[in-house]
Amino acid sequence: MTYFNKIKIASLVFILLTIYSANTYAQWNVPSELKKAPAEASYELVKKGKVVYKNNCASCHGTPGQGDNLAAINATDLGSKAFQKNNSDELVFWKVGEGNGGMPSFKESISDEDKWNLSFYIKSFDDKFIISGEKIKAVEANLELTIDDKTKTLNAKITVNEEAKEDVEVQFYIKRTFGNMLIATATSDNNGIASYIMTKEYPGDKEGNFELLVKFKDTDSFGKKEINKTLKWGTELQFENITDKRETWGANDRVPLWILLSYLIVVLSVWSVILYVVVQLIRLKNVGK
């Protein structure tokens, strides 16, 4: 079984288990009194809530309103009208703390403050939900990448309207089979350059290549510009396929030499004698003439 197959099987088992537990989903048993929010919802808090959402909720619920939620395990699209209509920010706060079926309880793992921010973020998809303050508008920042292979340095230059932008966080990822692996976050200096020197060794493919992904950390503020690049900076994958060797369990073209030789010697010598006898038999007619 190849490594990849193992991953496939493991993920299949995981998905099946998730579906199984998700099917234990029951109706929410909502108490009559719910906790009130300690503060008013603001765009600043909504932005903080979005980070919490991405880290804890997005893997099942997807991006709200996009319909990329995992419906198979009963994860709702939290941006949908039906959800927004029936769930106040207090109810969302409570539900996050409770959990239900496949959804775990986040009572302890997310602080109350973050849970409120999360509720505000989720409710921000409701047009009727009142949020104070100014909506943050994204500037379309530009991202350029220069690569120094010798020193393994990545310089990301951030410009807004062709002017260097200071204090912008840029994230460097390596693409992996099931998602992107964050390897560093760098902040741009006064020249607008966020710099990262790769000191660690990361595994690449058989040739040592991996896919690098660079993007802004705060995509709300700076836009969704991304850079993809294949770098040959990884360690070469040492993958020994046991069926490549000459072994008894190998395919026919990888038969162990001792078997091949023994077989050929025995078969050829026996059949050459048989052939000799047949040839002599055909010549029998003329023998002694």
Partner: protein
């Protein structure tokens, strides 16, 4: 006690020729016999077509017992076929004279059974149309490919070893059978390979026969050793044994020896050849069988006593199933009735006479058949992981009607080949018997030119 001696009555050449070619002309009783064989085969063919249409589900083979009656019959057929090598090669090469009249019979048994052994393997395949894949994609590491190679080789050598000593008989047949249908005469002419009785031709025939007789010994050992390796190369309880090769080979000699005794009896009575296959030959074959069975018994003791003494975890269950469990009845019947009692009986001279020999040989051969069943099935019933959560029918195995019918078709088919050969060619080498009677090649050639055969036939 006086030794049984080969009857020392001189036979003239014309007597020999007449006696040995009579069955080729006189077909009394052949029609019902062929009808019987062909009806058994007909039922088998119908069953096999039914199996082809409905798949192997019509057999009793399921997930655990995937080698059933077919594969046990396959080993039995290969085993029976091995006797050709023992009689005509081993005994012939060390110069044993009494085998002359039975060597060709042994070769016929070898040919008939080895050809059907190959077919039985195909009967066991769920998708016989994929047989070519063994040649195209077979792995040299697999004992199945070795088996295929060695079975093919054995068929080729057995055919040649049957054919070569037949060639000097062809001039007799051409002369004696001149009143027979044309297709027969064409066969005799073709198979004579231009043999006209020149001394150099005799010499060459003898030389080639000798080469093949030497060659067939390792090949025959290989065929049955490889067949045993189909089992022994796996780590399964009951098969994982280092003595499986010789254990199979000696067992094969026992089965084949018994088959030869049965054939000897049939031919001596039905073909009126009692003058040639005498009590002396039955006596000798009886003694030979005792020797072979003693060696086989020795291997049996090793095969069952060694693990039976240790009772290793895992093996203990298998051994107990054979000794006292589900297969105990068959196991002890096979060991006692097919081996130990025949050994004891055949020690007595009276039991080596034709009729007692025949009965004992039949017991041996039935025992040999079920011995292969005992080797194949109980092991499959003891997989490394316990059988659980499967339908009840997976827990047991007894061959279905289809399997019995197809297997009986194979047995009839092998006997059919022997019958056809016996009806086309003499069952004993005329020329060798003549040589043993002290008749020279010149006399033989003279006889073929001018000898009077019709005269003898009237009086007989």
């Amino acid at each position: 006690m006086p030794e049984i001696k080969n009857k020392d009555t001189k036979k003239s050449l014309s007597t020999i020729v007449t006696d040995l070619t009579r069955p080729l002309k006189n077909h009394y009783g052949l029609t019902p016999w062929m009808f019987f064989l062909l009806s058994v085969m007909g039922v088998g063919i119908a069953s096999y077509i039914y199996q082809l249409q409905n798949g192997l589900a019509v057999t009793s083979m399921r997930d655990y017992v995937s080698w059933g009656l077919y594969i046990s019959s396959f080993i039995f057929f290969i085993a029976t076929a091995l006797v050709g090598m023992l009689i005509s090669a081993v005994l012939g090469l060390i110069g044993i004279k009494w085998i002359t009249p039975i060597a060709r019979i042994a070769e016929m048994i070898a040919l008939g059974f080895v050809m059907w052994a190959g077919l039985i393997i195909i009967f066991d395949m769920g998708r016989p149309d994929r047989i070519l894949n063994i040649f195209l994609h077979g792995r040299l590491q697999s004992p199945i490919v070795w088996d295929l190679t060695v079975v093919t080789t054995y068929v080729a050598i057995s055919m040649l070893l049957y054919l070569l000593p037949l060639i000097p008989d062809m001039p007799f047949l051409k002369r004696v059978m001149s009143d027979q249908p044309k297709w027969k005469q064409t066969i005799y002419k073709l198979l004579s390979f231009g043999f006209v009785g020149r001394p150099e031709q005799y010499k060459l025939i003898k030389k080639l026969t000798r080469i093949l007789a030497i060659l067939i010994i390792p090949v025959a050992l290989a065929i049955h050793t490889v067949t045993s390796w189909l089992f022994a190369m796996t780590p399964r309880i009951g098969w994982d044994s280092t003595i499986f090769g010789p254990y199979y080979v000696t067992g094969a000699f026992v089965a084949g020896g018994a088959a030869v005794v049965i054939a000897m009896f049939a031919f001596s009575v039905d073909f009126r050849l009692k003058k040639y296959i005498t009590e002396y030959h039955f006596d000798k074959m009886g003694k030979l069988l005792v020797l072979l069975m003693l060696v086989y018994l020795y291997f049996n003791i090793n095969e069952f006593m060694v693990p039976g003494y240790k009772m290793k975890a895992g093996e203990d269950h298998h051994i107990l199933t054979l000794f006292t469990g589900a297969y105990a009845k068959m196991f002890w019947w096979v060991q006692l009735g097919g081996l130990i009692i025949p050994i004891i009986l055949l020690l007595f001279k009276r039991m080596r006479k034709p009729i007692p020999s025949l009965i004992i040989a039949i017991a041996i051969i039935i025992g040999a058949f079920f011995k292969r069943f005992i080797i194949t099935i109980p092991t499959l019933m003891h997989p490394h992981l316990p059988i659980q959560n499967v339908p009840a029918e997976f827990h047991t195995y007894w061959p279905s009607g289809v399997e019995w019918a197809v297997t009986m078709m194979a047995v009839s088919g092998a006997i059919l080949i022997i019958t056809i050969l016996a009806k086309l060619f003499p069952v004993m080498p005329i020329w060798e018997i003549a040589h043993e009677e002290g008749i020279s090649n010149e006399e033989i050639n003279e006889f073929i030119e001018n000898g009077d055969i019709n005269d003898e036939e009237k009086t007989s």
